[in-house]
């Protein structure tokens, strides 16, 4: 049985699951079996399975159905199956107990729809059908991200997401139509043989890049990820970013490439050496940011008494999927060779020259070193745990330099934490600062807040948006309700048409 048929079977299961959203357990069973089938399909395609293609006489939107499953889509199917399967488990708690039943059901429906549409994008080989599935994915993802749409922030974030994805879709429409104009059909088959279509891929880059959150097309990312339920964000980032390898290993491969070019003293190193340094700097900055976010959110004492009393730990169903995904990352990091084997068939689809690429020896060594270091970490952690268990019984307040009555609000804030690094970039970022300095002998109130404007949304887009809104306001004032002017517009329209005719005749 080929992977393609299994994938179609998986799609069918997902579709059936949409019909069963009324019964959570049945839905979960159907959905998970669908995800498992999807996983099987992806693995079959990644294994030495042949390329699977299926053309049907059935026309949807005037274009015959054409499905195709190659190793690359297989790889993405595997990732999709993992991420989408973990989500409902994580969410089953959130969608059954805390939220109203209607929200839970909507969540199940749109989750299934999202997975269905994404798999369809991966399977379809006709531009028209890809567009349909892609937009279906955008709408379902929007609905998923705005499940809690009672909150204004959620709605605003959702709208931004929808607007950005609409822009992406329009770019894709332009891309696929141009393709259709050049090759004569929406089918992607002929495209693979046309290298002169390369310039069009900029449009595709805009289209897919918007959804993947590439700079500067990332405007929707921060607010949507912040406002959507966590598993939805995971699906969004996991599906449309689709990191081919995990964290360090992938970065290591990139950096190694840069480094080797520098060592070989190739001319390209003039670019790659600075790139490597820039990569390091950005890596260090990312570390600082990550530490900041995590520490402020999770570490230390809770600042707010309310949070302490209302928030509670999730049960195993919420934690297990997270652990599974984290385990996956660790596995890829420590067994890069296996991951490499998995990737190579997919890479062959991207570029036939890369066929049969053996994992480099460095990767093998790196894998061993990573395993050894991980083992050492586990060992020392165990020792440390043993020490703490045997001798760490005493508990005390955190050291506060003699302050008699420390409160949780005295912890370092995120703004202060980042202030050193951001101060170096003030000239570039231009942060907005708001102060309320403490005054008097017994100051009641003091405040310091720093906010950095988002470069695309709040800077680059400000001008064009103001222009469009200005034009819109101008047009709006023209519709002022006086019929006399309306007839004048009619006459002006006549004059304009006459002018166009005269110009055309004169040419």
């Amino acid at each position: 049985m080929t992977g393609g048929l299994v994938a179609v079977w998986a799609l069918g299961l997902q579709a059936v699951a949409i019909g069963a959203t009324r019964w959570p357990r049945l839905w979960l069973a159907l959905f998970l079996s669908g995800a498992a089938t999807l996983l099987g399909a992806g693995l079959l395609a990644l294994g030495q399975g042949p390329l699977w293609e299926w053309r049907s006489e059935l026309a949807i939107g005037g274009e015959p159905l054409h499905l195709r499953l190659d190793a690359l889509s297989g790889l993405f199917l595997v990732l999709l199956a993992f991420i989408s399967g973990a989500g409902p488990l994580h969410a089953s708690v959130a969608w059954s107990q805390r939220a109203p039943a209607a929200t839970a059901r909507r969540g199940r429906t749109w989750w299934s729809m999202t997975v269905l549409c994404t798999s369809a994008v991966l399977l379809c080989s006709n531009g028209l059908h890809i567009l349909i599935a892609w937009e279906g994915f955008a709408v379902s993802a929007y609905c998923l991200a705005t499940l809690e749409r009672e909150r204004t922030a959620v709605r605003a974030a959702g709208w931004l997401f929808l607007a950005a994805s609409r822009l992406g879709t329009l770019a894709l429409i332009a891309f696929f139509t141009l393709l259709a104009v050049r090759t004569g059909s929406f089918d992607l088959g002929p495209m693979r043989a046309c290298p002169d279509l390369a310039p069009l891929f900029w449009l595709a880059l805009v289209g897919f890049g918007l959804k993947a959150g590439l700079f500067p097309l990332h405007v929707w990312v921060p607010s949507t990820y912040a406002e959507a339920p966590s598993h939805v964000s995971a699906l969004l980032s996991g599906v449309v970013g689709l990191p081919p390898l995990n964290g360090f290993v992938s970065e290591w491969l990139i950096a190694l490439g840069l480094l080797e070019s520098a060592a070989a003293h190739a001319d390209v190193a003039l670019i790659t050496a600075p790139a490597l340094i820039a990569l390091t700097v950005s890596g260090a900055l990312v570390l600082a940011t990550f530490v900041k976010a995590v520490s402020v959110t999770f570490l230390g004492a809770s600042r707010d008494a309310r949070t302490r009393s209302t928030v509670r730990e999730g049960d195993w169903r919420e934690r297990a999927p997270m652990l599974a995904l984290a385990l996956g990352c660790v596995l890829i990091a420590s067994a890069p060779v296996a991951a490499w084997r998995l990737i190579v068939p997919a890479l062959e689809e991207v570029n036939p020259l890369w066929t049969g690429l053996a994992p480099p020896a460095e990767l093998v060594t790196l894998g061993r070193v990573q395993v050894a270091l991980a083992a050492a970490r586990v060992a020392t952690t165990l020792v440390s745990a043993a020490c703490v268990r045997s001798r760490g019984r005493r508990r005390a307040l955190t050291l506060h330099c003699g302050l008699a009555a420390p409160t949780a609000r005295m912890q370092l804030e995120a703004t202060s934490f980042g202030s050193i690094a951001t101060s170096w970039f003030n000239w570039l970022l231009g942060p907005e600062r708001r102060y309320a300095r403490p005054r008097g002998a017994f100051p009641q109130h003091a405040q310091f807040a720093e906010r950095i404007k988002e470069p695309v949304l709040e800077r680059a887009l400000v001008g064009p948006v103001a222009l469009v809104l200005g034009a819109s306001a101008w047009a709006r004032r023209r519709q002022h309700g006086r019929p006399q002017s309306y007839i004048l517009y009619l006459v002006l329209g006549l004059l304009a048409v006459s002018a166009v005719i005269l110009a055309e005749v004169a040419l």
Partner: protein, 480 residues
């Protein structure tokens, strides 16, 4: 002779309904006539008459390509009309039902007219027949809207009459008889006097463009659509605009036969792009969701004009888009009507959180907005994709970019308004008001059916329709 039934049955029924003494049973005339009309037009669609009835009037390929959508649209409106009028017992529905039926008959006549003068008479008559529907609410606002509709629309229609006469004079000066039958005008071809021809085109384009609602002649539209009941908006936006568009297509064919295709293309493209731009700008500004629908209609008329400027493939796509636009827009007007009735007003200040008050209508409304903004897999997506494709094939890259940019702006405007109507929290006053208008299946069904039709039309366009559009294109682009 069967095709005359399309005109005579509604007209006779209009008279009968006007004389019918019983308020409660009168709306059923609508459904009866609609069913007969749909049956007739679908029969004629599948088995068209071998030749048009006469050179004056007949079920020719263009009528075959467009008239069935009017029938279907009217059926949707009729199904909605019965429960709607039952809610509006406080007003007599005598004039309303009669003028709706009369409008159907006159629209059929306009689609089947093969004589420019006859076409004008039918179009003007449709305009007048829709007046009683427009001020059905009889509020000062409705009266104001009607006044503007009459004044602006009337001026436009008057200009199109002048244009028709100019076309006649072009024929007269070119050695013809001044005959206004399209067939003879096209046969005269390049003999038509060029200056008169161009004057006629400018006047007819602006005149019928006013009726279609192309910018900057669209000003009556938001007022009329905003104040009329949803069902009337559906009929105007889906049916009457189609009549004007068909008129422009027929006139355009005459100009093309006279060798002026470049002029028609350029002007249609100009007005089309201007309309989409103006509509997009207004959609960003308006604060009333029924006026929003009017601007969306302006946008789609612009798209139609752009498509009509593009030669045979473009006109084919335009006919496809007419179907999609009619069905989708009608569904949207009907669901918006439900929301508007429950909210008591159409402004964003009042209507908010309607998904909690009228959940089904609100869901239909949102889906309809998605459909009308060309989100797949609804019909408008496919026709607009086709139009973009033809645009690119004709090498108009900048126009395509402009169109796509306007589509984006329009999408932003439409979703902004729709979401703020549908989501959020409804005020207590709205909740109280809405209790008087429960959502019944009879009020949900028709828009749902129309939306379903749009979906089906896009995904599985019947081959009979494809061939009907093809034949209409062949009719319009036959060169003598």
């Amino acid at each position: 002779m069967m095709e005359l039934g399309l005109i005579l049955v509604p007209s006779a029924a209009a008279l009968a309904a006007f004389l019918w003494p019983f308020e409660r049973s009168r709306p059923w005339f609508l459904i009866g006539v609609a069913l007969v009309h749909v049956a007739l037009s679908l029969t004629l669609l599948v088995a068209p008459p071998a030749a048009p009835l006469s050179e004056w009037i007949g079920f020719d390929p263009l009528a075959r390509a467009l008239l069935p959508t009017v029938s279907l649209l009217f059926l949707g409106c009729a199904l909605y009309g019965v429960p709607y009028l039952a809610l509006r017992r406080e007003r007599s529905n005598r004039a309303f039902v009669a003028s709706m039926l009369a409008a159907l008959g006159l629209m059929s006549a306009a689609h089947m007219a093969r004589h420019l003068g006859l076409l004008w008479v039918a179009t003007e008559a449709v305009t007048l027949a829709s007046v009683p529907m427009l001020h059905f609410n009889n509020s000062p606002r409705a009266l104001e809207a009607t006044w503007k509709y009459l004044l602006v629309g009337g001026t436009g229609v008057a200009l199109s009459l002048l244009g028709s006469f100019c076309l006649g004079y072009a024929s007269l000066y070119g050695g013809g008889s001044g005959d206004l039958r399209f067939i003879s005008l096209m046969a005269q071809g390049e003999d038509l006097s060029r200056p008169w021809l161009l004057i006629a085109w400018a006047l007819l384009l602006v005149g019928y463009g006013t009726k279609m609602g192309l910018a900057p002649m669209h000003t009556w539209k938001p007022d009329a659509y905003g104040e009329a009941p949803g069902i009337v908006g559906a009929l105007l936006a889906g049916g009457v605009t189609t009549v004007a568009f068909a008129a422009l297509l027929r006139v355009r064919a005459v100009l093309d036969a006279a060798g002026e295709a470049a002029v028609t293309s350029r002007t249609l493209l100009f007005l089309g792009l201007l309309s989409t731009l103006v509509a997009a700008l207004f959609l960003l500004a308006t604060r009333n969701f029924k006026r929003m629908l009017a601007y969306s209609s302006v946008e789609h008329m612009g798209i139609l004009a752009i498509a009509a400027s593009l030669g045979p493939a473009g006109v084919w796509a335009a006919l496809f888009h007419v179907w999609n636009n009619s069905l989708t827009k009608a569904s949207l007007f009907l669901s918006a009507g439900n929301v508007r009735r429950a909210a008591g007003a159409a402004t964003l200040d009042v209507a908010s959180g309607m998904s909690l008050v009228t959940p089904r209508s609100a869901a239909l409304f949102v889906t309809g907005v998605f459909a009308v903004t060309a989100l797949p897999p609804f019909g408008p997506f496919f026709s607009e994709l086709q139009i973009v494709r033809v645009l690119l094939e004709s090498g108009r890259g900048w126009s395509t970019a402009g169109l796509l940019a306007c589509l984006l702006l329009a999408f932003l405007g439409l979703t902004r308004i729709t979401f703020s109507v549908v989501y959020g929290r409804p005020s207590a006053a709205v909740r109280r008001h809405a209790q008087r208008f429960p959502e019944t299946p009879a009020l949900i069904g028709p828009p749902l059916l129309l939306l379903g039709a749009s979906l089906w039309l896009g995904l599985f366009t019947p081959s009979v329709l494809r061939s009907a559009w093809k034949e209409a294109v062949d009719l319009l682009f036959v060169l003598p």
